[in-house]
Symmetry: C2
Subunit: 119 residues, 2 copies
Amino acid sequence: MIDIRLEDVDFQKSGGLVPVVVQEATTHEVLMVAFANREAVEQTLRTGYAHYFSRSRARLWKKGETSGHVQRVRSILVDCDRDALLYIVEQTGVACHRGTRSCFTESLIKSASGEASRA
Amino acid sequence: MIDIRLEDVDFQKSGGLVPVVVQEATTHEVLMVAFANREAVEQTLRTGYAHYFSRSRARLWKKGETSGHVQRVRSILVDCDRDALLYIVEQTGVACHRGTRSCFTESLIKSASGEASRA
């Protein structure tokens, strides 16, 4: 595993943000996807707890800041293009605001015709 | 697991694209992150093989179209905001163009001072 530094991450490709995949360290379940700017990743590295950037609220947030469902970050992996991150976390409580462990609970299906429908 | 349809996916939030996390069905390894537009997801549903939208080349692409390292998609999960997808795949060969199974092979570390550095 090669070690790289924050200045090597490409935040410019998506206007200052990178997508972050969040995977539970023990169960390997993919919990959520969020976005982070440089400051959010810095806060994550500094505190050891997952921080993101909310696109809708246009602000930094710490996961679990109100719910208490924080994510202790064991490691942060960077992809080959250095424009996406993978947080390996220990999740306290549940990741999803709806009360489910993961945010991914719905299944995308073809429409009844057997073809993907066009709205 | 609730079934939803393509017209329920929010492609507008990120200008017609959604981030797609790709996880290996058997090993549960996170292989890569890519982006998809509606057409890429339609092609994935129709053919059973992972398709994405390349932001740099501005075109639809089938994973493995040149390398043969295709991804058979077992299921597509949608997150609670319906603006991110999770492809559960059977990976032929390796996911990364560098020859590694996963694109996530580098580890982000703090700089030597113990604080995240500012470039």
